[in-house]
């Protein structure tokens, strides 16, 4: 009987899942949704990304964790919190942040006070109620500034530092003020565009040697602005 269930479950999984291997050891795993001679686009479960074939070393076909997640999620009966919890743990073990969050959200929908699921979603208890991490930061007096939570004092210090540097520049070279202001204006416009395209909380201060400077939050879509449009694009 169990074997029958497994066979049915596997039969429901699409077979077009792939691992796209990049030069240098990079990898994209998910479901290929478009492929041409020049590029390959993969649904990674939090959005999709397109890599040029010139960056691709090889593509291995198989069943991706993302597709397995989707098949397993479809098979969960309504109201089965434990099945969602198990799937959430499974997704966490495969670093599928979006899918783990979705599964834990299902647990919270069924069991609103569930400690494990609330914590996994980044929620914390405040006055006996589960609130989002952002709400807890606000209640502790932190403010959000350019995508990071900090004390109002640190924000003021950053702004004061910038003003001081701007004034120093101004005094140092009055003749270049117009050029600098034009540059600053262009910089502000660039930052505004980047801020719009890069979600707050997505940049990280990694502290374990070389590591990522960007790590998307699962509840947010992937950015539409690639760091390097020469070699690949987000979609």
């Amino acid at each position: 009987m169990k074997l029958g269930i497994v066979i049915i479950a596997l039969a429901a999984i699409p077979v077009s899942a792939d691992d796209v291997y990049l030069r240098g050891g990079g990898q994209i795993t998910g479901e290929i949704i478009a492929r041409t001679e020049d590029s390959v686009t993969v649904d990674i479960g939090g959005g999709s990304m397109t890599a040029k074939m010139s960056s691709v070393v090889r593509i291995d076909e198989g069943i991706s964790p993302l597709q397995e997640y989707r098949a397993r999620a479809e098979a969960i009966p309504a109201g089965d919190a434990e099945a969602w919890r198990e799937l959430a743990k499974w997704a966490t073990g495969r670093a599928l942040s979006s899918q783990a969050s979705k599964a834990y959200s299902q647990v919270v929908t069924i069991l609103s006070d569930d400690q494990e699921a609330n914590r996994a979603l980044g929620r914390v208890q405040l006055d006996g109620k589960w609130v989002t991490e952002e709400e807890s930061f606000l209640s502790r007096g932190f403010v959000e500034f350019e995508g990071h939570w900090m004390t109002p004092g640190e924000r003021q210090a950053i702004l004061a530092d910038r003003r001081a540097r701007k004034n120093a520049d101004r005094q140092a070279n009055e003749a270049k003020i117009q050029a600098i202001e034009a540059e600053q204006k262009a910089e502000r416009e660039r930052e505004a565009v980047e801020h719009e395209q890069t979600r707050p909380n997505n940049s990280v201060h990694w502290g374990w040697g070389a590591g990522p400077r960007y790590w998307p939050v699962p509840s947010e879509p992937l950015p539409t602005n690639p760091a390097d449009t020469e070699t690949g694009v987000w979609q």
């Binding site: 050891g25 990079g26 969050s101 991490e133 807890s136 040697g209 070389a210 590591g211 990522p212 509840s219």
Partner: protein
Amino acid sequence: MRQFLKLLPLLGVLFAACSAPSPVDEIVASNLAARGGKERIQAVHSIRQTAAATASGGRVARLVREIKRPGLFRLEFTSQGTKSVFAHDGETGWQVAPLQGQFEPQVTTPENDAAAGADQRDVEGPLVDWREKGHVVELLGRETLPGGEAFKLQVTLEDGAIRFDYVDVESHLIVRSDVTRIMEGRPVLLEATFSDFREEGGLVFPYLIETHVMDRPEVIRIVVEHIELNPDLDDARFRLPR
């Protein structure tokens, strides 16, 4: 001659003071002993750590970190269907990071290279033979941390970067390390705390590393699951692919 004989006890005290290990040397020696001993530490030529990382907003990642003498480093960061590689061959840092829109290996900028910390590529840690490595270690005093008292050491690395190591007065292990990094154009103080110490191959390692920017609430939590000592790691793994 009588004058000289009178000075002898004073000279003896001065000689003893000069030849006795300094407090810094004693603290460093106690730390190396607590980690398993200098001999065992120096017998490690490479290390592979497998870990899970979590951050605010429900972010999860799988990590494989490899370090090899001399100064070779590679971190594989797997999250949401992507694997990124951040590496250094001892001279050049490079990365391929699909999540950052980089699908081709790229040399890292000097700023990012410095932010990663040369000390992180030292498989034995900067306190081992710190004088020979050109570092300077000074004792700044004792501080009370949440877990107890600790000696605060200022370690000025050979490249000029400064880190502050907190050596627990009881366990003699480094329980916190602060570094200033230039990030997004300005200095931030990154605080890393180490706990859940366990033994592997006669050496002691922290299995929980929590990092955050000083006075900020967001924390990245790294839980080490497995440590391999002296795995066979080909140097090519660390070199920028051509």
